[in-house]
Symmetry: C2
């Protein structure tokens, strides 16, 4: 069979296909869309991609994403952030979700994932010793564990609790409440969520 | 609120968000995935994007996608393609779908879309006069209309039929059969498809 698509087009489809959840059809759709747009759309995207690794790095203290020219995350260094309160999240983008609430004035610590044996992620791949060090150095008084409500997130929360105990770090640990999300009907709530909501019921 | 994500990261999210069907969350996921991959992944994608418009153009005869250094589509110029049989499709990628059947040896004509007043696409935006010209020049003996089975695709097929009649071009026109797709249970077939399948029933 003759080559059905131009080389440059096929090559772009292959490269786009490396994005998570993007199959051949989606990659074709993206590529054809970009081809029909003015050249500056694909060139603009190309430039943004080229400067990603040079412009972004991980904060050496919190492991949040920061500008390359920054030393530490502003969510750590700014004077109004309470360094004795640390919220532990799995990924840098989780910080954005919590910051959007506008209700948190502590700092963050990004683990860099969750324990998942099936994906080959053991506790040694996560920034857990660095958290223990921060607790001592910053005199952290409270930890909020905000891992995902998944099996991996729960395992990671349990491991973290055990790790701190085994290292003689005694500190109040809390975790995000499990319960019924805003705006959802009881009727459509799954059993596990309802069970959590019952267990965690609060005085009226 | 302080800037929550590094500039280069936010910029990439904005650019990725211009892709069709990609919202802020998906763009964040793509950007973070690329950040965690080795730099060569995003650079490779950037290079493929940069060479898209220089490496790809439309065939001046069939309006298929071709390499910039090609004169016409090989699916038109190759000796084994029957130039008197033309399959009319909406978009260049439709050609790939038909070629994958391996059962078609004619040539193609890409309209460049379908008539859709709501999207501001009138018949004047489509390569219809060019098809009429090709019919005369190549002595085309048969046209297969392979527009999509959507309202727009059907309208375009009807318009094309009328256009050729109005321009005194008398030529056998056929269109792709409508019916039950392979491997689908009758029970799950929608009413319109079943109606088409009944109307187009074939002698056993």
């Amino acid at each position: 069979m003759a080559q059905l698509l131009p080389k440059a087009f096929g090559h772009l489809i292959d490269e786009l296909g490396s994005l998570p959840g993007v199959g051949a059809r989606t990659a074709e759709r993206y590529a054809y869309y970009l081809f029909r747009q003015p050249k500056k759309t694909s060139v603009g995207l190309a430039e943004a991609l080229s400067s990603l690794h040079d412009g972004v790095k991980l904060c050496p203290v919190t492991y949040a994403l920061i500008d390359s020219e920054q030393d530490v995350s502003p969510l750590y260094s700014q004077g109004d952030r309470d360094k004795t309160l640390v919220c532990v999240v799995e990924e840098p983008l989780d910080i954005v979700a919590i910051e959007r609430t506008g209700k948190y004035r502590g700092t963050y610590h990004v683990l860099g994932g969750a324990i998942s044996p099936i994906d080959g992620v053991g506790p040694d791949k996560l920034h857990i010793p660095q958290l223990a060090e921060r607790i001592k150095k910053d005199g952290v008084a409270e930890i909020i564990i905000a891992t995902n409500a998944s099996v991996e997130g729960e395992s990671t929360a349990l491991f973290l609790q055990k790790y701190l105990r085994d290292n003689d770090i005694s500190i109040p640990l809390s975790r995000l409440a499990r319960g019924i999300p805003a705006g959802v009907d009881l009727e459509y709530t799954d059993q596990i969520t309802l069970q959590h909501a019952l267990e965690g019921r609060q005085q009226f």
